[in-house]
Each structure stands twice: as structure tokens, then as C-alpha cells.
Symmetry: C2
Subunit: 434 residues, 2 copies
């Protein structure tokens, strides 16, 4: 058994022989076997153990056990402690997900600190089969069926081709000791239920069930990769960045069948989940929109416009007297000059004495109005936007330069008459978009 495992490492994980790696160890049979195997292969690695403090004294006994194991193997050991329960409550996560987040964040940190590129974990084939069945029971897509990969850029799983039984045989053959997690025996948990009541019967269906299952997952991973390449290419073609927002032609989306499935692939990364609503958006009137927690999707004539939401607080910037340049939310220079040099949409000259510092950069607010330069009287900003045919997103993206509550400049578009240079102007402020 040891030789089979060793050969597998030599043939398929040769990179582990060339560089040091971190090995995640819980003290359970899988990671103990992995540590023993790596030590037997004389590989260069450091052990990393998390004490999640989830099973009181048992968690501490695990830690003691791992410390002794590291000593006996003569390998370097890192240990960290988590208050997993608190972290889970705080972030409203299940204990399992909380433990995973904490664990992988720490591994990452540790690897950076030690300048190590590879993490090695003890997942085996049965882990993948169990996850497959858990996801199947809840309903999933191809991603939920593909399982944990044997190798990624940063994680290697040398036991992934082996079954739980093979790992156990290795441990027994080598007379290894390990810690049993008492909860593993408890079939009231979904994974353990699957492990004990379903998996053994599935394996009886075919003499090489588990190998066939792993091949199936490889095929699904290939299909998924092909899909991802295609959808990425397609998205790059269809999603057009214009004026700081993303435009997608509705006709192009409607051309794709099944449309809803394409919408899912294109928009889920922006936090959307309302596929029926987005499908409806494609054929509805301009002005309708669907929101995700972070984004808005607006129907505007023949297009969907996609825009990131910004919170109100993000949208107020002060420019204090004497400031000569700002870079956020966009680049702008502020100078005092003696004369007007040249006019452009990007430059505005103001009579300094009319301004009240700090100037403010903000988006439109309800009731905004201004005195468009060259016109008589005031105009509601909303009316101005309408006359100039601003779409919904353009209105919301439009920055205003204000003096107190007065609009000085609809930036890059139209100045206000009240702040213009006159014959009595003494100091000229020049504002330039860069």
C-alpha cells in the first residue's frame, strides 16, 4: 500500500519533490496518512494545524496529538487558534463555512510569510463523491457536480484518487495512530449519513464505481472549462464599456438560447439572482430596472446598462481653498490665473469672489437647479437632463461642482451664470479636467 501511494506521488506530483510546501493537518486519519506519506517520500514540508475550539477538550487533545506527531516526524509545525463560533455568528455563516474561511485565510497568510507556493490537503475520492451527493440533494448545476480538483495553481491533493478505504488500509498497514472525530460516527449529519448509508450501496453497483465517478468528474470539469472559455469570449464581445458604464445589446442576448441560462452566466458575478425579471427586462420599456445588492441593470432603448451602485457617502468630496489638484473621484486641477487662456468643455473659469469654500463635488439631488450660462433665468437640473436626453445612468453619473448648495458647473457640460468672469472679476479660478 505504501508503495502504491509513493508511486502515485512520484508519477503525478513531482513538483512536491522540488519545493517546500505546507501540509494541512487535522489529526484525522486522512491528514495523518498524508503527513506520513510525505515524510516517507522525504519531501520538504511544514505542518499547519488549526484549533477551531469547537469540541472543547477534544479540540485541545487534537492539538496535543498533532504536536507529538510533528515531533516524531521531525517536521516543523505551525498552530493557530480560532474562536470559530464567534466568527460564524458575527458573519452569519454556518460553522462549516466559517471554519473553512478561517482556515484558508490563515493558510494563505502562512504561505506568504514562509514564501511557500503550495498547500497540500488530504482530500480523497470519497470526499468528492459525498460533496457531489450533498449538492445533488440540494439541487445544483454542473459546478456543484465537478468536485474538488486534484491540482490547482496553489493546492495539491495527492490522495484525491484514493478511496477512504485505501487511506484507512494505509494507516492500518503502517500502524499509524490518529484522532477520531466523534461526530463522524453520527449519521444525523448529512455528510455522514451519505457516507454510511448511500455510498457503500453505490459502490456495489459497479466494481470500479469510484474510479468511474472520478472520470465522470474529469469529463464534467472539461465541459465546464470549455463552457467558461466560450462564455468569457462571448461576454467580452457583448459587454461594451462606454462612458464608464457597461452596455449590452438586448437583441444579442435574445439571440442566445436558452437566454435565461446565458443571463445567469453573464450577470451572476454582479450579485443578480432574479433571472425571470432580467429576462423580462429584455423586452420591456426603457427605464425599467433590476437591482442586485451591488449593481443596477437598466433597460435603455435597445440596450441593458449595467452600473455599480455607489453609496451616498461615497459621493461627496470637498475641495478646500488652496487645493491645486484632486485625483478622486476623478482628476481635476484648480489654479488661480491672471487671464482666460482658452475655452474648452474641459475647462471652466470662475470669479473667485463668488465662490464659497470648500467647494463640493457631488451627484444631483432632488430639487437641484441652476442658471445655465447664456440663458436668462434658472432651470431645474431635471429639466436640463431631459432636454439634453441624458439616460438614467448618465443622470446619476453626472458630477456637479457646487458652491455651498449652488450648482457652479454641470461638469464638462454646462456652467452656471452666477459664477462667470465679469469685468469686475479680480481673481480668476481655473478648473481643468485632466
Amino acid at each position: 500500500m505504501l508503495d502504491r501511494f509513493k508511486n502515485h506521488i512520484v508519477e503525478n506530483f513531482s513538483h512536491l519533490g522540488r519545493e517546500a510546501f505546507v501540509l494541512a493537518i487535522s489529526g484525522g486519519v486522512d491528514s495523518v496518512v498524508l503527513a506520513h506519506l510525505c515524510a516517507s517520500c522525504k519531501l520538504d514540508f511544514e505542518l499547519a494545524h488549526c484549533n477551531f475550539h469547537l469540541r472543547e477538550a477534544e479540540s485541545d487533545k487534537d492539538e496535543v496529538f498533532v504536536r507529538e506527531l510533528a515531533d516524531s516526524l521531525g517536521e516543523n509545525l505551525h498552530v493557530t487558534h480560532f474562536n470559530t463560533q464567534d466568527y460564524a455568528s458575527e458573519h452569519k455563516l454556518s460553522i462549516q463555512i466559517a471554519a473553512r474561511e478561517l482556515r484558508y485565510a490563515w493558510f494563505k497568510e502562512l504561505m506568504q510569510e514562509r514564501n511557500i507556493k503550495t498547500l497540500v490537503t488530504a482530500h480523497h475520492a470519497d470526499d468528492n463523491l459525498e460533496t457531489f451527493l450533498i449538492n445533488l440533494s440540494r439541487g445544483t448545476g454542473i459546478e456543484g457536480l465537478t468536485g474538488i480538483p486534484e491540482m490547482t495553481d496553489s493546492i495539491s491533493r495527492p490522495l484525491l484518487k484514493f478511496s477512504r478505504d485505501e487511506v484507512l488500509s494505509y494507516a492500518q498497514e503502517q500502524k499509524l495512530e490518529w484522532r477520531e472525530d466523534a461526530s463522524n460516527q453520527d449519521t444525523k449529519y448529512l455528510r455522514n449519513n451519505i457516507r454510511h448509508t448511500i455510498v457503500p450501496r453505490l459502490k456495489e453497483l459497479h466494481p470500479t464505481f469510484l474510479d468511474n465517478f472520478l472520470k465522470t468528474q474529469e469529463h464534467l470539469i472539461d465541459t465546464l472549462k470549455i463552457n467558461q472559455v466560450y462564455l468569457k469570449e462571448l461576454k467580452e464581445r457583448l459587454f461594451i464599456v462606454e462612458d464608464g458604464q457597461i452596455k449590452v445589446a438586448t437583441a444579442a442576448l435574445l439571440n442566445l438560447q436558452p437566454t435565461k441560462s446565458y443571463l445567469f452566466h453573464f450577470f451572476r458575478e454582479y450579485g443578480f439572482t432574479q433571472w425571470e425579471d432580467i429576462l423580462g427586462l429584455l423586452t420591456t420599456n426603457s427605464g425599467k430596472e433590476v437591482q442586485s445588492p451591488s449593481h443596477r441593470l437598466l433597460k435603455d432603448r435597445e440596450f441593458l446598462l449595467l452600473q455599480e451602485k455607489t453609496s451616498k457617502n461615497d459621493n461627496l468630496y470637498e475641495i478646500h481653498e488652496g487645493t491645486s489638484e484632486i485625483r478622486v473621484p476623478f482628476s481635476m486641477k484648480i489654479d488661480e490665473v491672471n487671464q482666460i487662456e482658452k475655452f474648452s468643455q474641459k475647462v471652466l473659469y470662475l470669479d473667485k469672489e463668488t465662490l464659497k469654500y470648500p467647494l463640493i463635488l457631488r451627484k444631483r439631488e432632488k430639487g437641484d437647479y441652476f442658471y445655465p450660462l447664456g440663458m436668462v433665468g434658472k432651470k431645474k437640473l431635471s429639466k436640463y437632463f431631459k432636454d439634453e436626453k441624458f439616460d438614467k445612468f448618465s443622470k446619476e453619473n453626472q458630477w456637479l461642482l457646487c458652491s455651498g448648495n449652488k450648482v457652479v458647473w454641470v461638469i464638462g457640460k454646462r456652467a452656471d451664470d452666477r459664477f462667470k468672469i465679469t469685468e469686475s472679476t479680480k481673481k480668476i479660478v481655473k478648473i481643468s479636467l485632466v
Copy 2:
């Protein structure tokens, strides 16, 4: 229960109310429920029953039962008989696959005859789950996991969203009678084993396991469709038809990752299965090839050439004296003329007295040689091909016109000196490629 089933038909299968259809009926509980349901909805349909003669007297009792059922429902019934066992042996098929082939061929025939567009079958959700698990146990790809669709252009499955238990409840509630297939109780068969020992435990994992499973399959079908669209587009771009064969640039194939998976999608329809070999072909020397039962794939410099195999017998054609035109394997005219009109690669003039009828059209054979017109002496055909830089497929595609065993014309390329027109020629035969 009846109302739930009826509503499902009304809401999702309204087309069944508009046109007559054929309903496949075995006499088992599923198809009896379906027939009862369609009759209750007052739909217009005809029953079709296959007697496969696989279970001796039982098969005949099924038929009698179905005849009585059709009478009691007042529906038209078609019955056919198959010698399934013989058909399976003859075509080297499993009994199950033989029965399916026979069944669907007959349904198709019947529908054409009756001018009916839709076949309705009684598959339910558990059928899909069982098939999923059977394919999973054997190893499969996404196609093996997607299941039977609820609706295609020609087949509707109104029970597909219902479980086996729901169908059974319907039958009991309506006090229906049906025929039990004794083999259904026998867990030694894979499907029955899955049905009785695994499916019930899977369903315990989640209160809506079966619905979740059907949703998963819908997602997989969508993913599969997206993949198929992409691969079809890509194949149309990469597979170039040129000179009656298909060329694919190896560089383009190597660019696709995972390459082997793309090769599988592109070449499986030609009967290939040796994906490692084809992958190797991409980077090997010109002249290497991989064969499927029906096709050959040849490496030729920067390309793979794909060609259909033709059997030896297909490749011999006789041209009898007096024949003035042939159309197979290609078009050619044979005339007797009084003088040479004009020369071209497509026309050959022969001295009739040198020819031995029937002339023969064939491909090259080992040891072929000829006396190239305008050269002194004879030349091996293989040497000629080499000197003229014929690739492997071009050599094999090259037709020869022969007189007995003598090569008269390497058609369209080079004539033989022995059959040329001389001053003593009395009758001229003109052969023209059309």
C-alpha cells in the same frame, strides 16, 4: 391527485389538446395512468402497444390486457409483434437496446402513416434519476447525466415531473388495474437495485430531493446546449472542406484547452475513440494516421486530414465497350472520334486497338507501374506519386483508368505511353472528365 395531473397537462402540455397523438402503452402502471389521464382530459389519441415476446405467456397476457383497456377507454389501438431476441442476436445488441430500437422505429412508422406529429410516453422523474445513477455508476459525461427531456419536437412526457409514488397513488385513487412486470421486483437487475435500495435513501436526504434533482438536470441541459452551440460554431470554423476531404489546422486544435476534450467533441461522430493517439498525431510527423471503423485521420504537415474510408469493393468499376457515359464514381464521357480536337488535363485520346475491354476504374494497388507519356521506360506509380508530392490521402484518392492490369491514365494527371495515338491509329477513343 387526478386534478393535479390534469392541471399539469393543461398548463404545460396544451399542444396535446390541439392535435391527435400516439400514446405508447405497455400495460404497466405508468402508461395505464397516462392513458387514463389523457382520456379524462378528453384528449384525442391512439394507443400503440409492442409485444416483444420476451416473457412468453406473460407478454401475450399484457397484450390482451391492453386490448381490453383500449376497449374500455374507447380508444383506437395499434399492436405490433417483435422477435426481439433474434433482432438482438442479429445486430449484436443488448435486449434492452434492441427493444428500444424496434419500438421507436415502429412508433415513427406508425406516426407517419397516421400523419401524427407527437408521441407521448409515460416516463416519470424516477426513471430519470435511475438512469442518472446507472450512468454515474459506469462513468459518463454531462450527456449521461442530463436525462430524458420533458418535451422534444416529437415526444412529450407529461409525467416527467411526477415521482413513481405519485403515479402509483393516482392509480390507486382511481382504482386502476395494470400489469406487473415480474422482473421489476428482482433486485438483481441494476435498475431495480437502484430503485429499491438507493433511491429511497437519496430521497431521505432532502424533503424535495426529486424536484431538486430535476432542476439540476434542467441546468445541465442548459449547459449542454450552450456547449453544443459553441462547439458547432467552432467546428464549422476549423473544419475546412478542400478537395473532397476535411482539413483541420493542428495549431488551432492545440490552442484549445483541454485539447483532448475538444478532440473528443470534434471527432467522435466519425467513430474515433483513441483520444490519446489523436492528441499525439497533432505533434507527430507527416504521414502518421489514426483510423476509426469508418474514417481515417492523417497528419499532413500543419494539418489533420479527415477522410471517409471506402471499401475495396466500392473501388472497382468496369466500363464496357460502347458505354458513352458513366456517372459513378465520377462523371466521365467516352466517345469514338475521328480526330484529336483539343488537349487538356481533363481529356485523353487513346488508340482503341491497344485497349482491352471492359476498361477498369480503380485506385492504386501495390506494384502498379506505368510508362509515363513522353518519358522513356516505365516508372513505379509509388515513385511517381512521391516525385509529384502527393500526400497520403491524395494517393489513395487518385483514380486510375486501366486496361486489364495496365495503367492507361493516372486520371487527370498523366497518361501512359503505350495507349497513345500514333500514325497507325485507326480508331480514336476520347475520354473526357465532366
